[in-house]
Symmetry: D2
Subunit: 150 residues, 4 copies
């Protein structure tokens, strides 16, 4: 989708506020580093306590970042008084998640009133070089008249 | 698959040892509560620091449990000197993950020399009542001659 | 889901009528052999002109049956004045689709007002023996006030 | 993947020969219109006998094209004496498949010795305008020492 127009001019703040209300993001040390209409980037510095048995970041961490980036990419295009819900996601792991940090970038591919389809890619940054480690295709749902804020 | 026969008689200990080497499981407080040939159960007590913005357990946590249960269900049928790798997974979210604990149960549906296909279901236990919150279909790969242990 | 109650008492006829309006089902020779609340079975006799390069039924044919069985299993629980739409599906191929016929059986796992999640399994029957060849997990959507009939 | 190098200089002919041995492609009238290293395009003229109940091309047809384009994109990078096998695919439907023809374009995203991950997009061409109707993410497997030819 080339340059989608957000319904809510304050979409970026709304996304950042929602991200800030996710305790799990603080637990794993994830940061929302960019939001644009239909796009979102989340980054995570490597930590040993997030790894699986071979010292790579756990697929569950990679999936968490991709799902969250996908959800907020979708949410950026939704109306102010809505919430976003993950219906489903599918992720392929391409390579071990090793390096100094992970970057998950998501982009909306189809934005509808109810259903939004998003692709996300997760890369690992090692010594300044970025390598794709996972690819996600996800389906998000808009809950109208159900603001995300508490 | 009705009662698959494990190639490795010590499969249960091998699975438990591998699970024990996953720092991320300790970080989120997940426990391996059952291993059988082609099956695995992982449980997780509710914790606020694992939640998303509405107070439900984060989809990334649910996905982590389902992926891990699926991987170890597959690994239980693999030979002693092998490792297991997640190729991909797809998960549908069925209901908000609320309650006292999550239970992820996985079962191998097709076990081949290289590729294993697994289904997993995650339920939330609330006041003694169990409710399905997610369903996963995953593809695992056996790395032969690549022991999991360090 | 244990014995879901259909909203429309005439669900079976509605499903059969809709299936009968799918020209592609006639083209490939598929038959709707069973409909129950939240369940559907579609069968297809083997035909050489539906095969891929190794003489097995094409994955696209297997996917067609699974998607259609999943869609009609979902549709059986939807209201009379609705249509069903496939949002997405994911299918694992377990074994080559060879034999005298394919049987696709689908079962609703979560039925909501808008979103329904379905699992389907496709088996091949060869000399009276049934073998699983594919597994699907699919997401269907209900279009309210949009009758399927022309 | 930027300009992958094929292992087999005759990859294009090998892909075309394999496609030519798929009777189902003739049955539905699909044509292989382009092969490049890690890429494949398949097109299909609209036909009423390939439709579902609302007069749109059946999701099974769309899935068949995407799966086949994905499989041959992967196969273009595999060695001469190999076969390609679909392990699994996941497809989102974005819009009704209407128009004069469908175009499925696939591109390899990760090519390994055994496992290849591919993305495919299917567009519908209507009065000269192209519109995305489906997106697939698929996993293919290389069978070594198992030539595709009969």
């Amino acid at each position: 989708m080339a340059r989608p127009t957000p319904l809510d001019p304050d979409f970026a703040q709304r996304v950042r506020d929602s991200f800030g209300r996710q305790p799990f993001m603080r637990t794993i040390g994830a940061e929302l580093t960019d939001v644009a209409p239909g796009r979102c980037t989340i980054e995570l510095p490597f930590r040993e306590d997030l790894c699986q048995q071979h010292g790579f970041l756990h697929a569950g961490v990679t999936g968490t970042l991709a799902d969250n980036a996908a959800g907020y990419a979708a949410y950026s295009l939704m109306p102010a008084d809505s919430s976003v819900l993950t219906i489903e996601f599918k992720m392929n792991l391409l390579a071990p998640a090793v390096g100094e940090r992970l970057i998950a970038r998501a982009e909306v591919k189809r934005s509808g009133k109810t259903i939004t389809v998003v692709q996300a890619e997760v890369s690992a940054v090692k010594e300044g070089h970025e390598k794709p480690v996972a690819m996600m295709q996800a389906t998000m749902m808009c809950l109208h008249n159900a603001p995300d804020r508490p």
